[in-house]
Symmetry: C2
Subunit: 106 residues, 2 copies
DNA sequence: ACAAATCGTAAGCGATGACTTACGGTAAGT
DNA sequence: ACTTACCGTAAGTCATCGCTTACGATTTGT
């Protein structure tokens, strides 16, 4: 999906700890909220943001709702950073080369 | 450095367009602000945030100041997402396996 | 059928953040 | 030396965001 929503979603520290809790696998809302310093509705709101950003999958399981990390969402961000990484390295190499050629001014 | 500051810095759309402008190489503040819908001081503030996050290098060049992307900062975020990507894939595979084994409930 | 559990949503509040204008400071040009 | 260009910082304003409490909906258990 669009990496822009994903990066905004991951900018919040509470949402990152939620994501970290889901690294081992899917969890219902109650288990996610357990131990967190915020209320359960707050967690629900965070889960909404993460889902809208394409970072989470939701599977209704009877009474509960299982949230799990969506690999595709993570991958969209990964690809953005990879392209940024490539360009940054290329620009850095070019700058170093210019520096070696004595192009300190211009 | 710490990927947390980096992800917060990249969450802002204006800061992302600034980063995009620097993909080709270092630029002074004036050139960066040119064409942007915000004032030059606003750009300066954004550059400060990006620098503090370890995403930019600053090289004073006489009158001007050249800002360029710091590959190390981008890499810190890349590593975080790679680890998240690995865990997400593993959890996904495990969930698919459990599903195949008929563990739909429990 | 009734009670309890699980969860999402609405409304309201306080804090953070992005922006503007105004100003000061340093380097380059004449 | 004086002016101009380039840039960072301070102060203040306005919108956005994360949080809480209160409530409603749906599902499970008795």
């Amino acid at each position: 999906m669009n990496y822009e929503d994903a990066i905004v979603a991951l900018a919040d520290p509470t949402r990152r700890t939620i994501i970290d809790k889901l690294r081992g696998g899917g969890l219902p809302v109650g288990a996610i909220a357990e131990g967190l310093p915020v209320s359960r509705p707050a967690v629900s709101q965070h889960l909404r943001v993460l889902s809208d950003a394409g970072l989470l999958h939701v599977t209704p399981k009877g009474n509960k709702r299982l949230y799990s990390i969506a690999p595709e969402g993570v991958d969209s961000l990964r690809r953005y950073l990879d392209s940024l990484w490539d360009d940054a390295l290329a620009a850095f190499a070019r700058a170093a080369e210019d520096q070696a050629k004595g192009k300190t001014d211009e």
